[in-house]
Symmetry: C2
Amino acid sequence: MIAEKITRRLGSSSLIRAMFEEGEKLRKIYGKDKVYDFSLGNPDLEPPQAVKDTLKKLILEDVPDLHKYMSNAGFADVREKVASHLSRENGIPLSPENIVMTSGAAGGLNVILMTLLDPDQEVIVFSPYFVDYLNYIENFGGKAVIVPTNKDTFEPDPELLKTSITPRTKAVIINSPNNPTGVIYSEEVLKRMARVLEDKEKEYNTTIYVISDEPYNRLVFDGFKVPGILKIFKNSLLVNSFSKSLALPGERIGYIAASSAIDNVSLLINGLIYVSRVLGFINAPSLFQKVVAESLEVAVDTEIYRERRDILYNHLTELGFSCVKPHGTFYLFPKSLIEDDGEFVRRAMKYNLLFTPGKGFGCPGYFRIAYCVSMETIKNSLPAFEALAKEFKG
Amino acid sequence: MIAEKITRRLGSSSLIRAMFEEGEKLRKIYGKDKVYDFSLGNPDLEPPQAVKDTLKKLILEDVPDLHKYMSNAGFADVREKVASHLSRENGIPLSPENIVMTSGAAGGLNVILMTLLDPDQEVIVFSPYFVDYLNYIENFGGKAVIVPTNKDTFEPDPELLKTSITPRTKAVIINSPNNPTGVIYSEEVLKRMARVLEDKEKEYNTTIYVISDEPYNRLVFDGFKVPGILKIFKNSLLVNSFSKSLALPGERIGYIAASSAIDNVSLLINGLIYVSRVLGFINAPSLFQKVVAESLEVAVDTEIYRERRDILYNHLTELGFSCVKPHGTFYLFPKSLIEDDGEFVRRAMKYNLLFTPGKGFGCPGYFRIAYCVSMETIKNSLPAFEALAKEFKG
């Protein structure tokens, strides 16, 4: 009755659903506060006070036309503010015409891929990856080409990138700070990747777009800085979302910024705007366009996340877990204590610990801890981690 | 550089864009208030006070979790309220599990079509139609089959529907009250259509879904009632939006309600929820889910639209225009005074009158007047209509 393709895809997406339902069951038996649910990337923090104040101000002042249609690309004044913010941050000129406001990063990525992909073109994705990248690519008949990252750093290997590019390569998706590893790709690695892409574009006479998905680019610790991809890659599209940085995931608000250096960038942008309309997004939600335009320099208190990372990271490494130390996001991606990460995650449930197995990110043998839960939950969970480690390490 | 398909589709969408740019040019020359722009379906009314009050209340009370992720189908309490509202209105039982909150009707329609369509399956669309239906169908490899309505009433002809159905027919889109005609399909016609569908489903051993796009179902005049399609068609999906009824088009909020009578409806709904996620909508904007859940019985003051319709309809028919009298929406769809509606609309611009040609709705020889503009604009435009009629009628 429903499309064959969707029936098939639904079948393969049932693992995570089964996981979630297992968690619900545990919560019912043991009570919500006795279950340590590290499985979901749903920020527990409230939006920053400045965001709440802006929202309140817009509503109380009853600003006219706040809820009306605007250009499919978004309000002109909002795009103006995003463009000058990005110009300042990246040290490159960017005009409002280069900005398309989107329904979050997921909306933006779908819009970009539908705009770019002809059937059977390839999109390179580095593993571990956010699993829905594969779905977004499949939506528009593209073919995901998975390239593993270096396991010591979880950064891409430019040499491996080089051998993965074919004449059909249309785009490369990068995600730094990364979900699930929390790793920030270094400027050096990114620059080497840029040289590889330029060489291959010349060799094949093609254009390869770099789609940089950066919802975590303000959730960074230890003074690290996320290198600005618009300056590093000629054919770059930055996709951002305020879901994590402003803790507004339910509101579906983000943007695409297309580099001015792209050849014929206005055709590309017309394509993005057209696709935003015909794919049914029409425009990014209007009230929150205005809210985020006033909140571009704001972020949730990253110290809260850093403290949580420190406690968990230190506890886990003391218990013998092997884990690349992340400098951003709210994820840890340690090695599983047995090869079968699915089995490991299932056995962790005995201790009311809920994780996501690494194979859900195309990286078996690891598991993801999403620490966007309260410090209380984290502290209460520490003995459970101990018991878990003991079961495997004896 | 961008997909061939999108380049081609962009090309054919340039007529309306050209129209819009022409309007902008006129506004610059003559001033905004001297241009009578009846070309856009962008509600000029502000949201009802009750909606603004609800919004204010939610913000001021700082309700927790207002901006967080929830189930991809939407907040459970919101779906509960929508379901009981629809059950009451339609006299049929509907559970929250039958509701998926969406990013407006455009988002809902894309989600439904991606869920249903295998390549080359057919979707019947009645002309005149909202032009993006064709785009939504094409997005997922479907084939739109255009069936003209009866020109005297702009209602579908069940006999013509019958001869248009093939073994590949997967769905029929209906839109009542209709954009662009303003016509409400009668219960009698809809029931005859239901019988045709049942017969054909038996003949071909298929399921044909009726997708009823009803963003105008609360903008109804003269005591008319929109027949409840969930009761009339077994395999029916109702798609609604609050863009017009609550004047919230920028906020992208609506829902899908799937009839409980559909065989294996839970698989269909799982498909809709899955597609909402992977197509990048994730969930309908969270704050406005809560707002509309408190506003299901509310609508903008339809008397304002009725008065405008009366003035324009009476003036036009007095001037010799032929027009089916609409009982809903904020559109009139009169016959063009010459066969070439494109040329007619171009010549109307001389009088600073902006319309959309009927061929944009698959119905040449007509033009659409969108009277979601102020009464002042309407009154000021009346002499321009006179001058226009005089040019053609002498």
